[in-house]
C-alpha cells in the first residue's frame, strides 16, 4: 500500500492545534450540556470551526478552503472523536465536500464555498433500512416532463434534522440506475422527523412525498450516482473510522487514568495483572488501528480510485477497536462506569452509532474479503 504512514509536520501541527482548541471549547461536558438542553450541536462552535478552516479542509483554495486533503481531514476527525465533539463535520466538510468536488460546475463550486465558510450544512440521505446498503435503494425519482418527482423514505439521515441541504440517492431506472440529487431540505414535500438517537446527535427520518426536482438538482450524471457518491462515501467512511479511532483513544485514556487512581484492597487497581494485560491488549489494538487509518488517508489522497480496500480495512478495524475500548472502559470502571454522571457511557453510545453509520463491521470485512480474493 502507501509508503509513508507517519504524520507530516503539517498534520502534527494541525492535530496539536485542534487538540488545544477542543480541550477548551468542546470537552465531553459540552456534549453532556447539549444533550441536557436537547440540542444536537453548537452552532457557535461550528462557526469557529469554519473560521479555523476546518469546514474547508477538503475545499479548494479558490473557493475559500484550506484544501489539506483526506489525511488531514482524518486527523481532524480523530481529534473531534477524542472528546466526542458533536458537529456536522463529517456530513458537510467531508462527505458533501468530496461529492461536490467530483463535479466542477459553477453551482458545485458555490456550494463548496458555502461549506467552507460554514453557511451551508449538508446531510447524506442514503439509508432506507436498518443496514447500510446503497445498491438496494428503493426510493424513486420518476421522470415527469422536464423534471423528476421524488417519492420514498430515508432513515438514519445523520445530521439530517438540521441540515440546510440533502444529498439524496434515488432510483431512476432498473439495476444500477441510481441518481444523486442535491436539494434544499425545506423543499415542498419533504418532511423530517428527528430521531432520538442514543448518541444525542442529529439524525432524522426523511419522507419525500412528490418532491419536485429538476435536472439542475442532479449532482453528477443521471443514472450514475456512484461516480460522485463512491468517493464521497469512502471519504466519509475513512473520516468516521478516524473519529472512532480517536474515540477509542479517548476512552482508553480515561480508563488507564482510572486504573492508576482507583484504589481497592489498598492498592491501585492498575497494579493487578488481570487488568494490566487487558489494558495492554487494548492499547495494541488501538495502535494497530491507527495504522489502518493513516493508510486510508494516504490512499484517498494519493490513489483515490483504488482506496476501497484501505478505507474498508480502516472502518472495520475502527469499529471493532472502538467497541472493545468502550466495553473494556465500562468494565474496568466498574459500577461508576454505568452511571450517567460519568462520561464513559457517552463514548459507548457514540461508538455504537458510528459502528452502524456508513457500513458496519460485516459490511466492511466483506469488502476486504472481496478485494483480497475470497
Amino acid at each position: 500500500m502507501m509508503q509513508n504512514l507517519l504524520r507530516t509536520e503539517e498534520e502534527t501541527m494541525l492535530a496539536d492545534a485542534a487538540r488545544g482548541f477542543l480541550d477548551k471549547a468542546a470537552p465531553v461536558s459540552a456534549l453532556r450540556e447539549l444533550r441536557d438542553t436537547n440540542q444536537s450541536y453548537d452552532r457557535g462552535l461550528w462557526k469557529q470551526m469554519a473560521e479555523m478552516g476546518w469546514t474547508g479542509v477538503l475545499v479548494p483554495e479558490a473557493q475559500g478552503g484550506a484544501d489539506m486533503g483526506h489525511a488531514a481531514a482524518c486527523v481532524l476527525a480523530g481529534e473531534l472523536g477524542k472528546t466526542l465533539v458533536a458537529s456536522p463535520f463529517l456530513s458537510s466538510a467531508v462527505i458533501a465536500a468530496t461529492a461536490l468536488r467530483q463535479v466542477s460546475d459553477d453551482r458545485a463550486l458555490r456550494a463548496l464555498a458555502a461549506i467552507a465558510d460554514g453557511t451551508a450544512t449538508y446531510a447524506l440521505a442514503i439509508d432506507e433500512s436498518a443496514k447500510f446498503n446503497p445498491a438496494s435503494t428503493a426510493m424513486t425519482a420518476t421522470k415527469v416532463g422536464n423534471g423528476f418527482r421524488l417519492d420514498g423514505k430515508k432513515t438514519f439521515v445523520v445530521d439530517g434534522g438540521l441540515a440546510d441541504r440533502l444529498l439524496v440517492l434515488a432510483r431512476t431506472g432498473d439495476d444500477d440506475a441510481l441518481t444523486l440529487f442535491d436539494i434544499p431540505s425545506d423543499r415542498a414535500g419533504i418532511s423530517r422527523t428527528r430521531q432520538s438517537m442514543i448518541d444525542s446527535r442529529d439524525a432524522a427520518n426523511v419522507d419525500f412525498d412528490a418532491v419536485k426536482a429538476t435536472g439542475d438538482d442532479i449532482l453528477g450524471e443521471l443514472d450514475d450516482a456512484m461516480s460522485v457518491l463512491r468517493p464521497a462515501i469512502e471519504a466519509g467512511q475513512a473520516a468516521l473510522a478516524a473519529e472512532m479511532s480517536g474515540l477509542a483513544t479517548g476512552a482508553f485514556g480515561m480508563t488507564v487514568g482510572y486504573l492508576k487512581e482507583r484504589q481497592q484492597f489498598g492498592v491501585p487497581i492498575g497494579s493487578f495483572q488481570a487488568l494490566q494485560h487487558r489494558a495492554a491488549h487494548l492499547w495494541c489494538e488501538i495502535e494497530v488501528t491507527a495504522s489502518a487509518i493513516a493508510n486510508a488517508g494516504r490512499m484517498l489522497d494519493q490513489d483515490p480510485d483504488n482506496a476501497t480496500l484501505a478505507v474498508s480495512l480502516a472502518k472495520a478495524r475502527a469499529t471493532s477497536t472502538a467497541k472493545l475500548a468502550v466495553s473494556e472502559g465500562v468494565q474496568m470502571h466498574g459500577g461508576i462506569g454505568m452511571t450517567d454522571a460519568f462520561d464513559i457511557g457517552f463514548y459507548m453510545k457514540r461508538a455504537r452509532v458510528a459502528a452502524e453509520w456508513l457500513g458496519d463491521y460485516s459490511y466492511h470485512a466483506e469488502q476486504v474479503a472481496r478485494l483480497r480474493g475470497f
Binding site: 497494579s271 471493532s320 483480497r372
Partner: protein
C-alpha cells in the same frame, strides 16, 4: 528519511554493477527457506559451489554485515546506503549470503559492549562465515524469569569453571561457539550476579542433545556444561553486569523481529490460500469464512503497523518497548491463521507430510511463536509497565 549526501547515485551504480557481476545465477532465486540458508561455521557443508562463491565474494566486500565497521570485516554502510543495498539485492532476487546468530545477536552486543581485542578476535570470522554461534540464555528453571539463571561460573583464579544446563539453544549441536548468561555471583541479587560469557563449544565438558517437539524434529537443543574451563577474558562487558547486555539484546531482537519480518499477509491473501486448501467450490463454510475475513482484516492492519514502525525507525525515532506489541500481535495472529488452515483442511490436514505439505507440523510449530523470544504475557507486562505506566 535520512539521505546520504556522499554521491548516493554513484554508490548505487557501483553496487548495482558489482552485484550483477558477482552474484552467481543460482543465488538469484530469492530462496529464503531453511534449505536456502547459509549458516556458515567450521562444520558447514556448502550446498553448492555457487553458495560458497557467493559467501566469499560478499564477505570480501564486507557485505555479509553491511553496516558493521570496515575494521571488523563489515562494509561500513550508512543507514541510507544499507537501504540502497537492500533494494539492489532484492532487484536481482539475490539470496542472503550468510545468516547467523553471530550477525544478529553477538555482533551488535560486541560492537556495543566488547573490548577492542574481543571485536578484533570474534567479529571478522563471523563476517566471513567461519564461526557459527548459538545463544545460551534459557534454562529449565529460567524461562520468562530469565534473570534467575543458575548456570554457574566459578572464579578459579586464571579461568572460570562452568557448570549447568541451557535449554532451547537453537542449533547448539552445529555451533562452534556459544554466548551465554552465567551466574558469577551467587550472593548478589538476581539481576546483578550475571555475566555474559563466550564459550568454545569444542571445550571438554560441553555436550548437546536435540529436543523433539510436538511438531517433530526441531533445531532446539539442550546444552550441558560439566566442569568446562573458560578463559577469564571471555567475559563481555563487566563481570556481574551481563544482564544489561541481555536486556539490550532482547530489545534488539524484538526490534529486529518487527523490522525484518516478512509480514503476515505475505502478498497472498489468506482467503486465497484457504480457498485452495478447501478444494473445488472454494471456501463455502460461512463460519470459517467469517473467521477468515476477520483474520485477514487484522493481519492487513498489523502489516501496516509494521510498515509504520519501519517508517518511524527510518525517520530516526526508534519504537523501543512498543516493539513488544508487534511481537504479541504478530505471533497471536499467526496462530489464528494456522488454526484456520487446519479447520479448512479437515481430516485431510491431519496426516504428517500429507497432500497439503506438512500442515500439521507448521500448525503445531506456531504454538511456540507466542512463547519463544518472550511470551505474549511477558510482552503485555512490558507494555503495561513501560508504555502505559501502570504500577508494577
Amino acid at each position: 528519511m535520512q539521505t546520504d549526501t556522499h554521491q548516493p547515485e554513484q554508490f548505487r551504480t557501483e553496487l548495482h554493477d558489482w552485484l550483477s557481476d558477482n552474484c552467481p545465477q543460482e543465488m538469484r532465486d530469492g530462496g529464503s527457506g531453511e534449505s536456502a540458508i547459509c549458516w556458515g561455521g567450521k562444520r558447514w557443508e556448502f550446498t553448492s559451489q555457487a553458495q560458497k562463491t557467493w559467501l566469499s565474494r560478499m564477505a570480501a566486500k564486507g557485505l555479509t554485515t553491511p553496516t558493521w565497521p570496515k575494521a571488523y570485516g563489515g562494509a561500513g554502510l550508512s543507514r541510507a546506503q544499507e537501504k540502497v543495498f537492500t533494494v539492489e539485492m532484492a532487484a536481482i532476487n539475490a539470496r542472503s549470503p550468510l545468516q547467523s546468530f553471530g550477525i544478529w545477536m553477538l555482533g551488535p552486543a560486541l560492537l556495543k559492549f566488547g573490548t577492542e581485542e574481543q571485536k578484533q578476535t570474534y567479529l571478522p570470522p563471523i563476517t566471513r562465515g567461519e564461526v557459527r554461534w548459538c545463544q545460551g540464555y534459557s534454562e529449565p528453571g529460567a524461562g520468562s524469569d530469565l534473570a534467575s539463571v543458575q548456570t554457574r561460573a566459578e572464579d578459579m583464579g586464571d579461568h572460570y569453571l562452568i557448570n549447568g544446563q541451557k535449554i532451547w539453544t537453537s542449533y547448539a549441536d552445529q555451533a562452534d561457539w556459544i554466548f551465554a548468561l552465567v551466574r558469577t555471583d551467587r550472593e548478589a541479587s538476581k539481576h546483578t550476579g550475571i555475566s555474559f560469557i563466550l564459550i568454545d563449544m569444542a571445550s571438554a565438558g560441553v555436550t548437546t542433545r536435540p529436543i523433539r517437539l510436538i511438531s517433530g524434529a526441531s533445531v532446539f537443543c539442550e546444552t550441558f556444561f560439566d566442569n568446562v574451563k573458560v578463559p577469564k577474558e571471555n567475559v563481555v562487558g563487566e563481570v556481574n553486569k551481563g544482564w544489561d547486555i541481555a536486556k539490550y539484546l532482547l530489545t534488539h531482537e524484538r526490534e529486529m523481529i518487527s523490522g525484518g519480518a516478512q509480514g503476515l499477509t505475505g502478498g497472498r491473501a489468506l482467503g486465497a490460500v484457504l480457498a485452495e486448501s478447501a478444494g473445488e467450490g472454494g471456501l463455502t463454510d460461512a463460519t470459517l469464512r467469517a473467521e477468515a475475513m476477520a483474520c485477514e482484516v487484522d493481519a492487513l492492519a498489523v502489516d501496516l503497523t509494521l510498515e509504520r514502525y519501519k517508517d518511524q525507525a527510518e525517520a530516526g525515532r526508534g519504537v523501543g518497548d512498543a516493539s513488544a506489541m508487534l511481537k504479541y500481535m504478530g505471533t497471536e495472529l499467526n496462530k489464528r491463521r494456522h488454526e484456520l488452515l487446519m479447520s479448512v483442511g479437515g481430516s485431510d490436514a491431519l496426516e504428517w507430510d500429507g497432500d497439503h505439505g506438512n500442515l500439521p507440523a507448521d500448525w503445531l510449530r506456531t504454538k511456540a511463536n507466542s512463547i519463544e523470544g518472550g511470551t505474549s504475557e511477558v510482552m503485555l507486562s512490558i507494555l503495561s509497565r513501560r508504555v502505559l505506566g501502570l504500577p508494577g
